[in-house]
Amino acid sequence: MKQYLTLTPRDPIIARDGRPFGVGQGHRMRSLDWPYPSVLSGSLRTLLGKMAGGSFTPEIVNRLKEIEIAGPFPLANNQVYFPAPKDLVIWEDEQEKGSHRKRKIMPLRPLPLAEGEKVCDLPDGLLPVSVTEDLKPSKSPAFWSHERICWWLANAHGKDFSVPPREGNCEEGFFDAPLKDERIHVKIEPTSGAAEESQLFMTVGLDLSSKGLSPDIGLVARVDAGNGFVKQIESLNTFHPLGGERRLVHWQKTKSPTWDPPDKLRELLSKTPLVRLVLATPALFKDGWKPGWLDGNLEGLLPGTSIRLRLVSACIDRWKPISGWSLEVGNVGPKPVRRMVPAGSVYFFERKEGDPAMISERCWLQSVSDENQDRRDGFGLALWGIWDYAGHVEGGR
């Protein structure tokens, strides 16, 4: 059963990167730009475990780990926001000087090549995307509203799309990455309560309260607990830490926000031979950049469906590391570092067989990651759209 939660941060949230922190190991906790899915899933499972009696026996822990969690995503005016997709570049036309340079979009779409033609050192069978301008990317908002991103997903060529503004603005459906709140702290000597000399340290938190423009910004998450925690989630209305330094967040069950694809996009997806995957959360794949369900020829069955896809091209930023600190009994300490495909990355597929209607029915905001636990933790949630080759004005290739 799918349930939805709103999370309202009372304090800036601490979501650290992998650098060690402690005496002699640097005096700064550095922040990610946005909490990874595991930050949410870890905190929520702990909260539910406490609500269910607080005995974290192996059996309870296993049941908690079976809960499927998706998020956190920004929520404003009852709209869920998603990371900006990477298959476009926003730029300002240098020809127009001064502060009124015209903002433009360069969509990135696979570049059709002649049979056997090779133009770069991408893995065999993969096409580069077409770059049509020599430009420097301009500042643009980090998150797009559900409505905006669905428009983009329904736009095969990426043409005639209204350009996102420089600064995020919830009225227009864009949201900037949260400000980073830096705080200097003093280590306190526990017996005397006095500050210790030369023991300053800094924390950096994600400030989700200071956006000012819209007082209603919060976080939203989807939970699917088919194993007995439904009751706890249903009654959820409490403060509990999220991330580091025990910074508090108010957790509450809420009604479903607009989460599913609009009818127009469903219809387009049900007909298209060319399917575009945009990662709404970072993905973990056992082959690194490539989903493990694709074989050496870049073909495979989309998990949970009978749709066979072939990868044609991709827009993937450089990998991001994720590690963390394990508190699991018998395994306390640094977790191994893993490499994620960043959120917003885009994969362009050709559908070889299967009913495409299944994509919007079964795969929308479902995980495409390889390992079951990564899927349940909310890595690799997929948004789906259509696409066409660069230079094609109408129809497919």
Binding site: G98, P128, D134, P321, N331
Partner: protein, 629 residues
């Protein structure tokens, strides 16, 4: 068969260049990436390819450690007779060479620090560092060069849009790199490390690695730290340079005292300068009177070294942990020599403590892409690249020989350097002008508007974290490009209080004005409080709203009048002759913002004046004043 253009990009830039805790990591990381890129260029050159960018000015410039610094992008023309398959093979050869050169340096680091390395983790990481991207396109005829060049660079951008990677072989229970947290540490656990580093035989290794207790390094971090024995000047040394130059200039007994301090830095018990207890400045920097780190010239740092050398419970592995009780007499001697130099007369010579601020200089060519797009042939593009390489070489001379700075990186039109505050404005101007000189000849290559150079100067405290100093420098460079490039930005980051940020086009002579205000501060012709009062005045007028043009004019007149009255009321210690320049400027302002800008210039220039005063040398007793913000 036709000719081809081949374009290559090499990384990871971030891991090599940005992740650094010390100037030496930063410099050697940049050097490594340049050497790796050069190796790829050499493969193409030797296979008969014609390099277009980089275009080494002399034969032999592509050999390892040649002194030529190159960017991480390569563009080359491959002659007729090579099939597209062969082009791909050549790209693969170049890639193999980048991995080979990387391995060469990594092996050197491993040999140096082998006893501290977890071999399994090292072996897993060392083969997965280099990022290499290549694209190629036919060049059907020389006339099609502009079109083909544009296509190949866009193909490369399209290829780089997919940064494919292999999964990490992560390990649980192992801490991550302190520099970026992206890989596990290759160092053995810190307790074992401590035992090894505390052995007398390993003191020089401990000295070179200068690991903080608990500092963790991955394969890139350790290679940057250990692959070379060469040292590099620290930010503290750059900050202290005006003070040292001032003393060197005065010569005589004063300079002798500083020489005696330098002699103490050279420990008799350790055989060579590399093991000197105050780290050296490398073979190329500050070879004059005081070729050492400079920390001991600051009272508080010296005190902590004295404490450390007295402490039996020190942590081996970090710098202070290297100090032993036998160093105590030397440190005590340094303290007494230093007190004589720094204390005000009659107890001392009155030189005060060295300045603690330095300038991070970041420069970047403007509209380079547009200029290159106008070049019609590979040959002309090559000549353009030669000009860029010439600039890169001359930038080193301008920064290091002419302005006492330390160049970290200069490849093409990008420059990163640390410069003493008293010389940073002249250095920025010299770089800008020389770049303009070299680029003016590119008109012959068909470039309509030759590129210009925007320079950002961030003046920050030497105790700020390196990542912050770099961030400040990059922010200044970005500001210098606004609104229409060809600009200079000077940002001051005081230890307490908000930064002061000023940027103007080069044509508005911000550098000349700042130097003028600094001179006035230096000669006490401008009262310290005047600028702050001006800023307060601007603040009051900013809030004043006007409706009609007449009202606006009245307000402007009142603003000018108030500003001039304020200045006339002030008197510098040496009369008010110098105020006429300021009056001239205030007499033509149009808005409160302009007054605010002038006030900020005057406030910022006090920091420059303080460094200039130290570099002048001998001072009268009243001049050893503290500078506040």
């Amino acid at each position: 068969m036709t000719a081809h253009l081949l374009a290559i990009a090499i990384g990871p830039v971030q891991d090599f260049i940005a992740a650094a805790r010390r100037t030496r990591d930063l410099w050697f990381g940049s050097y490594l990436l340049s050497e790796i890129s050069k190796a790829a260029a050499k493969v193409i050159d030797e296979a008969g390819g014609q390099l277009i960018f980089p275009a080494p000015p002399a034969k032999g410039d592509l050999t390892r450690d040649s002194g030529l610094s190159v960017a991480n992008v390569i563009l080359a023309e491959l002659g007729v007779g090579l099939s597209s398959d062969r082009v791909q093979e050549l790209a693969e050869l170049a890639e193999k060479e980048t991995r080979k050169i990387w391995k060469f340096y990594a092996d050197a680091a491993k040999a140096e620090a082998n006893s501290l390395i977890n071999q399994n983790i090292w072996n897993e990481q060392v083969t997965d560092v280099i990022e290499f991207y290549a694209a190629w396109t036919p060049l059907n005829s020389p006339a099609q060069y502009p079109e083909s060049r544009r296509r190949v660079m866009r193909l490369l951008a399209g290829r780089k849009a997919c940064r494919d990677f292999i999964p990490a072989k992560g390990r649980s229970g192992v801490p991550k790199s302190s520099l970026d947290g992206a890989r596990e540490t290759v160092l053995i656990p810190k307790d074992q490390r401590k035992d090894i580093l505390s052995e007398p035989l390993n003191r020089s290794l401990a000295q070179r690695l200068r690991l903080s207790p608990g500092e963790e390094l991955d394969v890139i971090g350790l290679t940057k730290r250990a692959a070379t024995r060469e040292t590099f000047a620290s930010v503290v040394r750059v900050a202290a340079d005006p003070w040292i130059r001032g003393i060197e200039k005065d010569g005589g007994e004063t300079a002798d005292r500083l020489r005696q301090i330098a002699d103490q830095c050279r420990l008799e018990s350790r055989s060579d300068d590399v093991e000197a207890f105050a780290t050296g400045t490398g073979m190329h920097h500050y070879q004059g009177i005081f070729p050492y780190d400079g920390s001991i010239l600051y009272h508080s740092r010296l005190q902590s070294m004295i404490r450390a050398s007295n402490n039996d419970h020190r942590v081996i592995g970090d710098f202070e942990g290297l100090l032993l009780s036998k160093d105590l007499p030397k440190l005590t001697e340094i303290k007494s020599l230093l007190e004589k130099l720094q204390k005000a007369p009659p107890d001392g010579l009155g030189y005060g403590e060295p300045e603690t601020y330095l300038a991070v200089l970041v420069a970047d060519g403007d509209r380079m892409g547009k200029a290159i797009a106008e070049i019609v042939s590979a040959e002309k593009h090559r000549l353009f690249s030669v000009q860029l390489a010439t600039f890169a070489g001359e930038a080193k001379k301008i920064i290091e020989d002419d302005h006492s700075g330390c160049l970290v990186y200069s490849g093409g039109d990008d420059v990163l350097a640390f410069v003493p505050v008293d010389r940073c404005l002249d250095c920025a101007r010299a770089l800008h002008d020389r770049f303009a000189d070299l680029m003016s000849s590119t008109k012959d290559l068909g470039i309509e508007a030759p590129p210009t150079l925007s320079v950002g100067l961030a003046i920050g405290h030497c105790m700020e974290a390196m990542e912050d100093l770099l961030e400040y420098g990059r922010a200044a460079e970005k500001a210098a490009k606004e609104p229409n490039r060809d600009g200079l930005a000077v940002h001051l980051y005081p230890r307490g209080g908000p930064p002061i940020e000023i940027h103007k086009p080069w044509s508005e002579n911000l550098d000349v004005r700042l130097k003028k205000w600094a001179e006035m501060h230096r000669t006490n012709q401008i009262p310290d409080k005047a600028a702050y009062d001006l800023r307060e005045l601007a603040r009051q007028y900013t809030a004043w709203s006007v409706a009609t043009p007449d009202q606006k004019e009245d307000l402007t007149k009142a603003l000018r009048g108030d500003a001039l009255r304020l200045i006339k009321r002030k008197r510098g210690n040496r009369g008010d002759a110098g105020l006429s320049d300021l009056e001239g400027l205030l007499g033509v302002v149009h808005s409160a913002e302009e007054i605010h800008d002038v006030a900020n210039e005057v406030i910022l220039s006090r920091r420059i004046a303080a460094a200039e005063r130290q570099a002048e040398g001998r001072q009268s007793p009243g001049d050893t004043q503290e500078v506040g913000e």
